[in-house]
């Protein structure tokens, strides 16, 4: 069984700085594997545990950050057999309709029984790439998978947690499934896996897709701050606390 996993690098959100004009500075935010994609990798690893003949290849599309050896190793240390990367400066802020097209080209070339993606990415969270990939490949495709019940050569039985109900689905293979964050707890790679990662193959591919003008990303900006009263008391003496309480009584 050949499993492909979609894997995106995103900036560490805790280190993104909002500048005065509302734009974001991500230059100090180190690239990391998008959280949902860790769940996707873990799903593949858990399937492989039960199916010894399974192989896991991760596919990643992105800009310069993807050339970083450390993050490539980080991906490989999580139970992958191989990593395929497609990098291009133009792919720095790539949108889902293009990412899915590139991934579909690579997936066709690689061949697959199952493709696992995260439900969305930690940066844009468009929640489109995996589903679009499935539609482009013309195979059964579904999102929100919260548990794999069973898997054999022909089908997966999986649970899908929706807003108010849980569906149990029979998905014929080959297929694309997108997993939610509660499907598993991604494990942290051990020393042995980290050392082994250095010896695993990284396959660099050139895939050029034409610029399709369906959607343009015009800007990303933090919303303006609300005006606040700023009535701040400096000190915690009895009188000061009493004054603070008086302020609170106006609203509580």
């Amino acid at each position: 069984m050949k499993i492909l996993v979609g894997c995106k690098l995103v900036p560490e959100d805790q280190d993104i700085v909002v500048q005065n004009d509302g734009t974001l500075d991500t230059s100090k935010a180190a690239p990391k594997i998008s959280q949902f994609d860790l769940n996707a990798i873990q799903t593949a690893v858990d399937i492989k545990k039960e199916n010894a003949n399974a192989t896991i290849t991760a596919l990643s599309v992105g800009g310069k950050k993807l050339e970083n050896v450390k993050v490539r190793k980080d991906m490989l240390s999580r139970g992958l057999d191989e990593l395929v990367v497609v990098t291009n400066e133009k792919y720095e802020n790539i949108l889902p309709h293009q990412t899915s097209k590139i991934l579909s080209e690579v997936a066709k070339e690689q061949g697959f029984d199952l493709i696992i993606c995260g439900d969305g990415s930690g940066d844009l969270y468009a929640q489109q790439t995996g589903i679009k990939l499935g539609a482009l490949l013309d195979v059964p495709t579904v999102n929100g998978i919260s548990e794999i019940v069973s898997i054999d050569e022909n089908k997966i039985i999986a649970k899908r947690a929706l807003e108010n109900e849980v569906e149990v689905l029979e998905v014929p293979l080959p297929a694309v499934i997108c997993v939610s964050a509660d499907i598993n707890e991604p494990s942290i790679p051990g020393m042995k896996a980290i050392l082994a990662a250095g010896k695993k193959p990284v396959n660099v591919k050139e895939v050029v897709v034409e610029d399709s003008a369906l959607v343009d990303l015009v800007e990303i900006r933090a919303p303006k701050k609300k005006e606040r009263a700023h009535i701040i008391i400096e000190g915690d003496s009895e009188d000061q606390i009493a004054e603070f309480v008086n302020n609170l009584r106006k609203i509580i």
Binding site: A126, I131, P140, I157, E165, E219, A222, H230, I232, I252
Partner: protein, 312 residues
Amino acid sequence: MSKLSNVWVFSDTYSRLAEVISGGLELGQNVKAIVLTEDESKEAFAYGANEVFLIENSDSNNIVENYSKSIAKVIMNEGKSLILMPGTKRCKSLASLLSIELEAGLVTEVSEINIENNNINCRHMVYGGLANGLETITSEASIAVIASGTFENIQKDESKTGEAQKVDFVENKNSIKCIEKTSKEGSSVDLNKAKSIVAIGRGISKQEDISLAEELCKVMDAELGCSRPIAEGEKWMEHERYIGISSVMAKPEIYVAIGISGQIQHMVGAKDSQTIIAINKDKNAPIFDYADYGIVGDLYTVLPAVTKALKG
């Protein structure tokens, strides 16, 4: 803002049909709804849809996504335009499938939408709420999956009725079968609905001390929340109570931040509160930039005194 001649709407969930039709009426002169049942067709007319298309299929094992080719065919036959859907899991996946079928530009989590020269401008949340992205859809067919609350729910007018146009189901070779459906137990905690929230952060040094904040919650009839270190680092509180990036986005009337420094990653989930109150010992903590009322002091002194005073 200009209006489109036609807007398509679809909702997998009854309760969110009103909101997409409301959006359709705001953005277009004519609203065309696609529905899967007779009941839903009645609802769509009552909410003000001008035309309704009913896809007939009796296979109850079908999941909503299996209708993607049928829906695409209706839209292709009748004319491509903007399609509005609510931000449910099913509609998000259906929207992506349709975007390939219809070569449509798609934006999800849309919180604001306007039309300019037939281009659709959509604002939507990115980086877990830290910022908004502005995207323009330029394709002939366009799809916006809207966040709840983007459009006012409209009232039903039962006197508005109509006859749905019936269309055939298009077999889908990529069908997924639903073999069982169960309703889900929701978490008992829902900070999104709380009128008042008392939230704690790193300033609380021991797990037992959370009781100090719980006392204030009782007095104020507030829900207890926390910042990331308390839920993710210390794991003293459940994830449903963690306010901030990629988690709870609360809009309470009153928000009390205790021992929370006020990093942007937390504040994205609290900044829309009507009134913000801060207790923190560091007078340079960013939380005071967001606060309406604040006190610079030791929470272990201030908190019990405030609780006692408000109780009396």
